[in-house]
C-alpha cells in the first residue's frame, strides 16, 4: 500500500468561522494505482490534494494522519514537509500552464528549481533530456521561454519537472481541463505512461470530467461537500454506482448518442450546502431522493463490497 489517509480533516479559517472543507477523509491507494477524484466545484478535491503536500494558511489542520510508504508525513508542519515535497510526493498544479517563470528560459528555470532543492542540476540533465523524449518534447524547449510553448507543451513540461525525482505519489490537479480534446488524450495517456514506466508509483488525478477518469483511472473517488461519498474500481463506480449522488451525477452526463428530443437527461435539483455551517449528518441529504430519518447522522465510509466503499445509510442497511 503506497498511501494511507486516515480521518484527515482540514478547515479553512475565515473571519466568519471555519469552512469545513474536508472532513474525515479515510482511504488508501495501492502501489501502482491511479485514483481519480471527482466532484462538483467546492467539494474539497483540491483541498484534499493540497493537504497532502502544501497545507498552508488559511487551511488549518484539524486531525488525521497521512502515511506514505510506511512513513507518516508531517502534513501540518510546513517546513518539515520540505523533505518529502518533490522527492516523495509531487504535484502538477491546477493551471500548470502558468506555473513557469515567464522571465526565465525553461532550462534555466529547471536548473534553479533543482538547485533550490539541493540537487546538482548537471547530474540530472541527461535524465531530464530522456524524460523530454518520453513526453515527445524536443530538447530545444530547454532553450525557450514558456511563452513560446503551446498549452499542451507547457503542461507536458511541467509534468516532466514535477516527476524528475521519481516521487512515490503524484498529484495531478485538473491537468487536462484547459486542453483541446486531442491534446487532452495525449497528456492523459502520458500520465498512465509515467506509472507504467515506474517513474511514479501511484497517481491521484483530480478532475471534474468523469469521462476522462473512465479512460485512465484504476479507481474513482467521488466527493460531495467535503465528505467522501464513494470509492471503488472504475468500472464499478461508472456502471454500478451505489451512492445516490454518484448515480445522479453519472446519469446527468450528456453522452454522444443521447439527444434531447429522444432522451431528456436531468440534472440534480438543488445545490451543495455552504460549508461554513453545513447541515449535520449526510450532506447530500437535502438533494437526495432516497433520504430517510437515519441520514441526520453522518454515514460511515464503509467497504460494502471488496474495494468498494460507500457512505450512505440506505446502502449500508440494504447490505446488512
Amino acid at each position: 500500500m503506497s498511501l494511507r489517509v486516515e480521518d484527515l480533516t482540514v478547515y479553512y479559517q475565515t473571519l466568519r468561522g471555519d469552512v469545513r472543507a474536508l472532513e474525515n477523509a479515510t482511504f488508501s491507494l495501492a502501489d501502482g494505482e491511479i485514483m481519480g477524484m471527482a466532484g462538483e466545484s467546492g467539494c474539497g478535491k483540491t483541498t484534499l490534494s493540497n493537504s497532502l503536500i502544501l497545507l498552508t494558511p488559511p487551511m488549518r489542520y484539524i486531525k488525521g494522519r497521512v502515511v506514505l510508504d510506511g512513513q507518516e508525513l508531517p502534513v501540518s508542519d510546513i517546513d518539515g514537509m520540505n523533505r518529502y515535497r518533490f522527492k516523495e510526493i509531487s504535484v502538477v498544479p491546477q493551471y500548470a500552464m502558468n506555473a513557469m517563470n515567464p522571465t526565465r528560459k525553461i532550462g534555466k528555470m529547471a536548473e534553479e528549481l533543482l538547485r533550490s532543492r539541493g540537487i546538482d542540476a548537471h547530474r540530472v540533465l541527461p535524465e531530464l533530456k530522456r524524460r523530454l523524449d518520453l513526453v515527445e518534447l524536443d530538447q530545444d524547449v530547454l532553450k525557450m521561454y514558456p511563452i513560446e510553448l503551446s498549452g499542451g507543451m507547457k503542461q507536458r513540461m511541467v509534468m516532466v519537472l514535477s516527476t524528475l525525482m521519481n516521487p512515490s505519489l503524484l498529484l495531478a490537479d485538473e491537468i487536462t481541463s484547459a486542453l483541446d480534446v486531442s491534446t487532452q488524450k495525449a497528456v492523459a495517456e502520458m500520465l498512465v505512461g509515467f506509472r507504467d514506466h515506474k517513474i511514479v508509483k501511484s497517481i491521484i488525478v483530480i478532475t471534474h470530467d468523469i469521462s476522462i477518469l473512465y479512460q485512465i483511472a484504476d479507481s474513482i473517488l467521488i466527493m460531495y461537500a467535503g465528505q467522501l461519498a464513494e470509492k471503488g474500481p472504475t468500472e464499478t463506480v461508472i456502471h454500478s454506482p451505489r451512492h445516490p449522488y454518484t448515480k445522479l451525477l453519472i446519469t446527468s452526463l450528456p453522452k454522444v448518442g443521447a439527444k434531447h428530443d429522444v432522451t431528456q437527461l436531468e440534472g440534480i435539483p438543488g445545490k451543495p450546502p455552504l460549508l461554513l455551517d453545513p447541515p449535520e449528518g449526510c450532506r447530500f441529504r437535502e438533494r437526495c431522493p432516497v433520504a430517510f430519518e437515519k441520514c441526520v447522522e453522518v454515514p460511515p465510509f464503509l467497504e460494502l463490497d471488496p474495494d468498494h466503499f460507500v457512505a450512505c445509510w440506505k446502502e449500508i442497511e440494504s447490505n446488512a
Binding site: S150, G151, S182, E266
Partner: protein, 316 residues
C-alpha cells in the same frame, strides 16, 4: 434567418503587422428559425470569433453576415439597437459577466433603461417575472442578491433571462456550460432546448462533442477558421468523413467506450498555409496529394445534407 456569406476575419500579427492570421476563413453558414446549430472546434479554431462577429463585437474583414436579409455590418444607431433587440449573446464565464460589487439583477435594470425607458413598473415586473420563470427560476429566491450569493448555473440562467427580456429571435451561446458543474450543466442545456421549442434560433458554440449532439440538429466542425465538415448532426457523428472530425471523435473521452488504437496527435500547429488544405500538416491520411497541399478543398455534398471539405473524400 442568419446567414454567413463567405465571411473572413484576418488579423495582422507579428512585430510590424507583416503577417496575416486568418482567424475565420471563407465561412458560409446558415441558421434558420427555431434551429440549433452547433459550432464545434478546438481552441483557436475561430468559433468564438464567429459568435462575436454576429454580435458586432468584432468587425468582418470580407464577406457578409445577413440577419433576415439585412446586412449586419452596416447597421448603425437606431437600426443597430433594434438588431440587439433580436440578437443577443451569452458567454462562457458567468462570474466575469457581472460586476461583483453590485447586485446581480442590475443586468435587468440596464436592459430596462436602454430598451424600455417608458415602461411602467407593473408591466416591467410582469415581464421580468415571465422571463425568470421561462428560465426556471423563482424571482423571490434570486432577486436582490449579489453575484457571489448565486451559483454559476443560476448566474448563467440570469443572463439568458436577461436576453429573453428582449424579444430575441437569435441567441449566440458561446461555451455557456463549460464552466458549470456536471449536475447543473444539463439544466441549462435543457433550458436551451425548451427555448428552441418556442422558436428561438441558437448558435451553440462548444468544444464538447457530446453536448453538441444532445441539443442540435445541425453541426459544423471548424478547424483553423475553416469549416471542414457540416450537416445533420447524426450524419456527422455516425459517419465522420473528414480526417480531423474522425480524430476528434476518437479522442473525445466517453463513458461507453475506452480510448483505443491511434495515438493522439501532438504535432505543433503549423502556421497557416496560404493555399492548400488547412489540415494538411496534421492529416494522417497516407495518400495525400499535391492537390491537398496546393488547393483549398471546398465543401462538397458527400451524402444528403452532409458536407465535407477534403480532397481525399469526395471534394472534386
Amino acid at each position: 434567418m442568419l446567414k454567413f456569406d463567405h465571411v473572413s476575419k484576418t488579423y495582422r500579427v507579428g512585430t510590424f503587422g507583416g503577417k496575416l492570421l486568418h482567424a475565420v476563413n471563407d465561412v458560409c453558414l446558415e441558421v434558420n428559425d427555431g434551429e440549433v446549430v452547433s459550432l464545434i472546434g478546438e481552441s483557436g479554431s475561430g468559433k468564438s470569433t464567429i459568435g462575436k462577429m454576429i454580435l458586432r463585437l468584432i468587425s468582418i474583414t470580407a464577406g457578409s453576415i445577413t440577419f433576415n436579409e439585412r446586412d449586419v455590418s452596416t447597421l448603425k444607431g437606431r437600426d443597430l439597437k433594434e438588431y440587439y433587440r433580436e440578437v443577443q449573446g451569452v458567454f462562457q464565464d458567468p462570474f466575469s459577466s457581472y460586476n461583483p460589487i453590485s447586485k446581480a439583477d442590475r443586468v435587468f435594470n440596464i436592459i430596462r433603461s436602454n430598451f424600455y425607458p417608458g415602461m411602467d413598473d407593473r408591466d416591467w415586473n410582469e415581464r421580468l417575472h415571465r422571463s425568470l420563470e421561462a428560465v426556471g427560476m423563482n424571482p423571490r429566491h434570486v432577486m436582490d442578491k449579489y453575484p457571489h450569493q448565486l451559483s454559476g448555473g443560476q448566474l448563467q440562467r440570469f443572463l439568458i433571462a436577461r436576453a429573453l427580456l428582449l424579444d430575441i429571435q437569435f441567441l449566440v451561446a458561446d461555451e455557456i456550460i463549460s464552466m458549470l458543474d456536471a449536475s447543473t450543466r444539463i439544466d441549462v442545456l435543457n433550458l436551451l432546448a425548451d427555448l428552441k421549442e418556442r422558436g428561438l434560433a441558437i448558435l451553440f458554440i462548444t468544444h464538447d462533442l457530446s453536448l453538441g449532439y444532445y441539443i442540435s440538429e445541425n453541426a459544423a466542425i471548424l478547424y483553423r477558421g475553416c469549416i471542414v465538415e457540416m450537416g445533420q448532426t447524426e450524419k456527422i457523428y455516425d459517419n465522420p468523413i473528414h480526417p480531423y472530425t474522425r480524430m476528434l471523435m476518437e479522442a473525445v473521452p466517453r463513458l461507453d467506450r475506452k480510448w483505443e488504437g491511434a495515438k493522439a496527435d501532438l504535432k505543433a500547429k503549423q502556421p497557416n498555409l496560404s493555399a492548400g488544405c488547412v489540415y494538411y500538416e496534421r492529416c494522417p491520411m497516407v495518400d495525400k496529394t499535391d492537390d491537398c497541399r496546393m488547393m483549398r478543398p471546398v465543401l462538397h455534398e458527400a451524402e444528403k445534407e452532409h458536407f465535407v471539405a477534403c480532397w481525399r473524400n469526395g471534394s472534386s
